[in-house]
């Protein structure tokens, strides 16, 4: 049903898009209901997540099948590269919004609150802060767990590049070992991050500090988790012999993603933990 001219592969009709839309409808609709304590919300959401997982499995499965059966040509490969690149850019902008919120609250609006002595007598602007009405218990500096986490992520970036070299040299062992190491480092990061959350006495409700801290690190952690899962899938695909020295865009895409997550962490480390 698909048409593949010698120039560009065009897939045939597909159900996946509709399933994607159903999945998001269930997830978000269910979430909205659940947030308002309406009973059917949670089951809907769970159903949505299941459909979503089914969708990812099915859709990516189809793409992988097409990729392995070599219907893609160089131009299609390039499309994937453009696509992934700009997808990552959109993610950058997502984090940009939260960083903007952090800078604004910390350097601008907090001082204005302190200026409004008529409303908040005695409040002084300082960072970290939970605002005039809340008490902030504890905060977190850079040189404990966060530094270790930085090291973990940076190393994982290196091991991933090393694995990539292995792939390009057709050195399967180097590739596999590099990938496994990266995945382990990634999950170790997530575990440590979870541990850190457990240790923190302040919560997401602890005013602006808690809010920005957990939003930024939380969304980052989510991305690391997704990245690690994607790497695991890549590992499985490597085991099934999907990639060779010239054709491995799937690998590269995930690698780009991983480096992006790395860079975001560096910014987090500097602006959330350190300065």
């Amino acid at each position: 049903m698909s048409q593949s001219t010698k120039n560009y592969y065009l897939p045939g009709p597909s159900f996946w898009p509709l399933i994607a839309s159903i999945a998001l409808f269930l997830i978000f609709g269910g979430f909205a209901l659940a947030l308002n304590q309406i009973g059917s919300g949670k089951p809907l959401m769970i159903a949505g997540v299941l459909v979503f997982v089914y969708l990812l499995h099915g859709w990516f499965g189809e793409v992988i099948k097409e990729s392995v059966s070599k219907v893609y040509n160089k131009q299609v490969d390039l499309s994937f590269r453009w696509g992934m690149g700009w997808f990552i850019f959109s993610e950058v902008m997502f984090f940009f919004g939260f960083f903007g919120a952090l800078f604004y609250a910390r350097n601008v609006s907090l001082h204005w609150i302190a200026d409004a002595q008529l409303l908040w007598p005695g409040f002084v602007a300082s960072w970290p802060s939970a605002g005039p009405k809340l008490v902030l218990e504890g905060s977190i500096g850079p040189w404990g767990l966060p530094a270790i986490n930085t090291l973990l992520l940076l190393t994982s970036g290196a091991t991933l590049t090393w694995a990539h070299w292995g792939l390009m040299k057709n050195n399967r062992n180097q590739l596999t070992i590099g990938l496994v190491l990266t995945i382990l480092l990634g999950f170790a990061f997530v575990l440590l991050q979870a541990h850190e959350y457990g240790e923190n006495v302040f919560t997401i409700k602890s005013g602006i500090y808690g809010a920005t801290f957990y939003m930024l690190t939380g969304f980052h952690g989510l991305h690391v988790t997704m990245g690690a899962i994607m790497l695991t899938i890549i590992l499985l695909r490597v085991r099934s012999g999907h990639f060779d020295a010239h054709n491995h865009f799937g690998f590269e895409a995930v690698a780009w993603y991983w480096h992006f997550v790395d860079v975001v962490w560096l910014f987090l480390f500097i602006f959330v933990y350190w300065l």
Partner: protein
């Protein structure tokens, strides 16, 4: 709005044929079918949001409360704004992009046909969430399309539904723009360099960048709203160290580029129609490209002109005033280029050209009133009044929506294979243009004289102008039904359209038969 009879051309390799009936649309990976669905979706939403505008105008027909309780009135305004912007104008332009970009650059389809279909099908759950929110306890969102906290934090279930609807629309837009960017960069016919691309493609390329950069920021703002509402964060609450104005900053960082997202493709359509009917090449192609880029870049540093009354420090106020004023320069370049394109042409005035000329004229009124808003001290008087409502309907209705109408007339022959009814088209044009001005021109006066926007009832000094506006609005609404009729009539039949129905038209889309066959440019054409 292609015809249901678009032929399934026989392609040697294409032995299975395509699904027909509903499945043709549901499973579609064809840019033309998807474009068609986008356009119909957008028109449906236009009627829906337009009907709400009729409600607004009916309530404002006279002072006093007539039909709606204040809360319901606010719901009408909010949904009208949200649905017009996210449901009508944006999807219409994506529909154009789907139909025209591959045809104009000589590509066989979009770069990612399945994702393309997903972008469309994501609109449906989003629309369902928005529309269903009308029926939940407490009613639909009522905090304005700008959803400023803390008012938005007070909303109920419908607020969450709307936020998530916007999240989904964001995903749809981002995926769609990635697709468009990739298509434009990677699938142009050999020989079509960037500086040979049709202007419409250029404007969409830049629009796609605006979308990719702006939509995720909106998603971030809405996410903070959700956590403030339900998870105890204090982003927008001073007691916890946050600031309600933070939301406005993040929102308008998205919101201002968003308004150019809704006008740049319109500029592209104008830059296609005007040369065709002037029988002359577009004047100043290169400067058009630079102007579009300049508008896009500037649009990210002007956002706080929506917040002149929030009490920013003076340095911020001055910066945003200057940068906003600066945008007039590249926009002016465009207007001048269009006029220069017409200059010494050989013009005819078919419906698309009528729309294009009217848009240049009326958009400039809207642009100039925007400039008046940009002058901060004056904005202090007109912010949140009907002057602003007049401004943005001049740029949005007579800028964006009327460009869309012009574009539809222009490409209908290509899409359906039939010529539309020229007489009825002209009737639609004149009715729309006159009714539009009757509706919105008086709002400049009511605004200056001090009528706030988003109010269900007003003091008596505004009664006359509001009544005029309402009469105009009802006429405007009815005229759009004529549009619907003309389009359907054209799909159903009419004079057969040749491959290139317009004498002065250039471009690859006119080299394929009308209606454009299901598959086009499987072997890329070569552009010299």
């Amino acid at each position: 709005m292609s015809t249901a009879t678009a032929k399934h051309d026989d392609h040697g390799h294409d032995s299975h044929g395509h699904p027909t009936g509903l499945m043709r649309w549901v499973k579609s990976t064809n840019h033309k079918d998807i474009g068609t669905m986008y356009l119909w979706f957008s028109f449906t939403m236009f009627l829906f949001a337009g009907a709400m505008a009729m409600g607004i105008r009916a309530e404002l027909f006279q002072p006093g409360l007539q039909f709606f309780q204040p809360q319901v009135f606010n719901q009408l305004t909010t949904l009208h704004g949200l649905i017009m912007i996210f449901g009508a104008i944006m999807p219409a332009f994506v529909g154009f992009a789907n139909w025209q970009v591959p045809l104009m650059i000589g590509a066989p389809d979009m770069a990612f046909p399945r994702l393309n279909n997903m972008s469309f099908w994501l609109l449906i759950p989003a629309a369902l969430l928005l529309v269903a929110s009308i029926f939940v306890p407490g009613g639909a969102v009522a905090g304005g399309w700008t959803m400023y906290p803390p008012l938005a934090i007070q909303g109920g279930l419908s607020m969450d539904m709307s936020i998530f609807a916007l999240h989904i629309l964001g995903v749809s837009s981002i995926v769609g723009s990635i697709n468009i960017i990739t298509t434009i960069f990677n699938m142009r016919a050999p020989g079509m360099t960037l500086m040979k691309m049709p202007m419409f493609v250029w404007t969409w390329l830049i629009t796609a960048y605006l979308l990719i950069a702006a939509m995720p920021v909106l998603a971030g703002a809405l996410t903070m709203m959700i956590t403030d509402r339900h998870f105890g964060t204090h982003f927008f609450n001073a007691a916890g160290g946050g600031d309600p104005v933070l939301f406005q900053h993040v929102f308008w960082f998205f919101g201002h580029p968003e308004v150019y997202i809704m006008i740049l493709p319109a500029f592209g359509i104008l830059s296609t129609i005007i040369p065709t009917f002037s029988r002359k090449p577009l004047f100043g192609y290169a400067s058009m490209v630079y102007a579009t880029t300049a508008i896009a870049v500037l649009s990210f540093v002007v956002w706080a002109h929506h917040m002149f009354t929030t009490g920013m420090p003076v340095a911020g106020q001055l910066f945003f005033m200057y940068s906003t004023m600066l945008i007039s320069v590249p926009t002016g370049v465009k207007v001048f280029n269009w006029v220069a394109t017409m200059w010494k042409g050989s013009m005819t005035f078919e419906t698309p050209m009528l729309f294009a000329v009217a848009v240049v004229f009326l958009f400039t009124i809207g642009g100039l009133s925007g400039l008046v808003c940009a002058i901060l001290p004056v904005d202090i008087q007109v912010q949140d009044t009907y002057y602003v409502v007049a401004h943005f309907h001049y740029v949005l209705f007579s800028g964006a929506a009327m460009s869309i109408m012009g574009g539809v007339y222009y490409w209908l022959p290509k899409w359906t294979g039939h010529m539309y009814d020229e007489t009825l088209g002209k009737w639609h044009f004149w009715l729309t243009t006159i009714a539009f001005n009757v509706t919105f021109f008086p709002m400049h006066f009511t605004g200056l004289a001090g009528m706030p926007r988003r109010i269900p009832d007003y003091s008596q000094q505004f009664a006359e102008f509001n009544m005029i506006s309402s009469y105009g609005a009802f006429a405007l609404g009815l005229s759009q039904l004529l549009f619907l009729y003309v389009v359907i009539k054209c799909i159903k039949g009419g004079a057969k359209a040749p491959a290139s129905p317009w004498e002065g038209a250039h471009g690859l889309e006119w080299t394929v038969p009308s209606p454009a066959p299901f598959h086009t440019f499987e072997t890329p054409p070569v552009v010299k």
